[in-house]
Symmetry: C2
Subunit: 500 residues, 2 copies
């Protein structure tokens, strides 16, 4: 029975009247417009507490194989569709977390299912190539029609990787290689470079550093982890590098009331960045690159102004550091632009932009000069996965065809306005509503209350995630419409009303 919905999809084609209707939901604020999507449910439908009995049974089973402390519940992905995630106990939830922000156009989108049934695509799934040495015939075309069609300003080169951490690790390596080539005056590396690098010693393995920000999250492999500073649990007990860490601006909200304070705060942080660059150069550990998220996501949805990023980019240029914008979570349209850095309004926003999650493949764009000078310096067996590029091409087609970035802007406006209203209604619980597009967040009075609210919302059929110490982050798919915003806000309001 598991794949019955998908089977119907393939055999019966799309029939709008096929969708089940959901139990009614109390609408306390606005009337919600009917969903225009062909592959969505009408609303949440809860049958059991979550995790239900079947999820608990499977968690126990998986517990014999893995640590299951982070498992929320088990999912029925076959029956999930659009904005709705269905669990193994038949509960259907409006999904505002989307697999940690990694599902671009909802579950089981018909365009992606169709792609799977095209025999021309089978070989791409069955024969995974070593892309760096034996790429498939259509690889340049697929890259051009997918990743290059959404390349950040000033970038014509892109390297695919398997995941976000690998993308950042290799981006860091590209910055180190670029920096050392500059230092050497583009001369051939010395014999000493060669002999020392094999035993992990300088000058072959130089004492270079990457400057990152407190609150940042760039991944969990050991290079990335040295630039991650969001939660203790990520870093404890893992050896690291002595690299500089700058403060990220702590903005006060509402922004319009704290213009002067926030400008001073951003100036303070930028000054600290320059101080650290100088200090680490003096320590003999020059900063080869600066890495930053356009919005610190895992760290608590921390924003800074476009001006902050423009000035940071200038500082990087002034001190000869590469500027790496990590768009692993922000990239792919959630902010209403394909890349969050587009909100800065710059022609030359970065030297490197890394991505993963909603892009389905990992990787990074880079300026010409950041390309490693020799083959096999940035390399691994798979170098990504063409089957993911295939899905990405189709996701981009859907985004264009359905004007999803405009939709996100529209839904995001409704969402943020709704959060402002709720914040005014529940000042003891909510504060600091903020966001770009549907990439929104709000703070809860404390971490324990935040966690309680997340569970209560889930029991009412809305799946949300936390970030930072006491924030809730909203990460719907790009097919999240105004209709869903109101559904969400009403349920959220119910939870808050009962919490009083």
């Amino acid at each position: 029975m598991a794949a019955s919905w998908i089977s119907r999809q393939l055999t019966l084609s799309l029939q709008k009247n096929l969708w089940l209707s959901a139990p009614g939901c109390r609408y306390v604020s606005k009337a919600a417009a009917k969903a225009q999507m062909e592959f969505d449910y009408d609303g949440p439908s809860m049958k059991t507490a979550v995790p239900g009995p079947r999820s608990q049974e499977l968690t126990k089973q998986l517990g014999d194989i893995q640590n299951v402390g982070a498992v929320n519940f088990f999912c029925n992905y076959e029956e999930s569709r659009g904005n709705y995630l269905v669990d193994v106990d038949g509960n259907r939830m409006l999904d505002i977390y989307t697999q940690i922000s990694s599902i671009p156009i909802g579950y089981n989108h018909p365009a992606l299912l169709k792609l799977m049934t095209n025999p021309n695509n089978l070989s791409t799934f069955v024969n995974r190539p070593a892309l760096g040495i034996l790429p498939p015939e259509n690889f340049p075309d697929k890259i051009a029609e997918s990743l290059l069609s959404v390349a950040p300003s000033g970038m014509t080169r892109v390297q695919t990787m398997a995941c976000g951490s690998c993308s950042n690790e290799n981006a860091y390596k590209a910055m180190f290689i670029w920096y050392r080539n500059k230092e050497r005056g583009y001369k051939t590396p010395s014999d000493e470079d060669h002999s020392t690098c094999m035993i992990n010693q300088a000058p072959g393995c130089p004492d270079l550093s990457i400057l990152s920000f407190m609150g940042a999250f760039h991944g969990r492999t050991m290079g990335c982890l040295a630039t991650t500073h969001s939660k203790v649990i990520h870093k404890l007990d893992v050896p690291s590098f002595d690299w500089p860490i700058a403060p990220f601006p702590k903005l006060q909200y509402p922004l319009e009331e704290f213009t002067r304070e926030n400008a001073l705060e951003e100036a303070r942080c930028l000054e600290e960045v320059e101080d650290l660059i100088v200090k680490w150069r003096q320590k003999g550990k020059p900063v080869a690159g600066i890495v930053i998220e356009p919005i610190q996501a895992e760290g608590g949805d921390n924003h800074a102004s476009p001006d902050f990023f423009r000035r940071l980019r200038d500082i990087a240029r002034k001190h000869g550091c590469a500027f790496h914008v990590d768009e692993v979570q922000t990239g792919g349209g959630g902010t209403g632009k394909f890349w969050a850095h587009e909100h800065w309004g710059m022609d030359d926003p970065a030297d490197i932009v890394s991505f993963s999650k909603k892009l389905l493949t990992g990787g990074y764009y880079h300026k010409d000069e950041l390309q490693a000078d020799k083959p096999y310096r940035i390399f691994n067996t798979w170098m990504g996965d063409p089957s993911k590029n295939l899905f990405l091409s189709e996701v981009l087609n859907v985004i264009r065809r359905e004007n999803l970035l405009e939709e996100v802007t529209r839904s995001g406006k409704a969402l943020l306005n709704g959060l402002y209203e709720l914040q005014a209604q529940y000042p003891g619980i909510l504060s600091r509503a903020r966001g770009q597009g549907t990439f929104c967040a709000i703070d809860i009075c404390d971490g324990a209350t935040r966690d309680t609210i997340l569970v209560k919302a889930r029991d009412k059929g809305v799946l949300l995630g936390g970030c930072g110490d006491r924030s809730i982050r909203f990460r719907p798919a790009l097919v999240f419409k105004e209709y869903h915003v109101h559904l969400l806000l009403n349920i959220f309001n119910d939870v808050l009303a009962n919490h009083k």
Copy 2:
């Protein structure tokens, strides 16, 4: 036309007489038995020099997007089958390199194509979950029937990851966490642990180390790279850790003539391991784990005796270090056993065994005590990919159904015997023939000659890879039969004969 063969597969089912016959090939040694495979070609067929004009055109095109210095040629994966890789110029090569040893059962195996057409599997491809928090219903079962069914002795727990580097990075983290918990007497981490780890400093980010071996290859992300010591190009310009590096035995061949010398060499290396463990403990950088490949692959197919590994495992135990066997390249059956460490004949071969490549998913097995004590310590967004587990299940079915490990043992014996014969015939060019199963290698008189031979073999329709400074490594798929061995040996002989 690209997918025509696959389309025929799906519509006409398997018809043996459908396969094209190949131009004849001069057999100088043994008569080759006819291939018993239903999805293989009869032999190589070369139309152009390699890379041919179409490959060159595509390389130029891709060069505008990426560094293409490592690209050999472009492939037509749709027309490739079994042991044969077809390129975009219509050249069909017997593939003894298999995408850097990552294709387990050949190209377009009918069992894998069939899996793709089952509608029950579609959702697994289209909806990639965040496995650590929201696994699919069939995840425990799929893991049990795939990875757990081939678990190394003493291991009942497994963690999937996206690639080999991520697998090793996370295995290292698991060893560090395990070691620090021991050091703390399993007490709660201190406030100082918590505060210092956020700024990359000890004791929160402790000065622990991983002991690795000269010539090793464990990946290219920054933790892995600190344990990789095979080639300058991998390591140059990337900051590293001051971790101990032991010598790997340099065995003299033929083994039976150098029993005493090789035993002494292995004893010398083991003594050095113990010295380094003591020295690094005294330096305040205790060795939390030892990582080793059962056969150093990238580093030149360097072997050691089962006794060496058994004694190394004892040293790890004696000094309280975890013992991590990296089977990323050796795992999956190429040595004639599913894991190369099975040749050591131990009940308790390791604390951690990592894998990727032929397993199609990355990951690592571990003993119970190596499981991180809390969730989110070993974690990332995807934690692997269930669609790869699906393929792996089917690959394991094929391995069992077709007795492929026995076939590998048989083919491997024929291959190694053939290499011994060629080595006797061309003593000025060849030496040190060695191998387990079909995981074989031979040394060439010098690196330049090796590279010339690789190109000449390719021009005659055999795709081989190098390793180390002057070795050729043989890495056929598990469906490489005795018939293919003789085909390979005859062409290899032709190349050597013309090289004289």
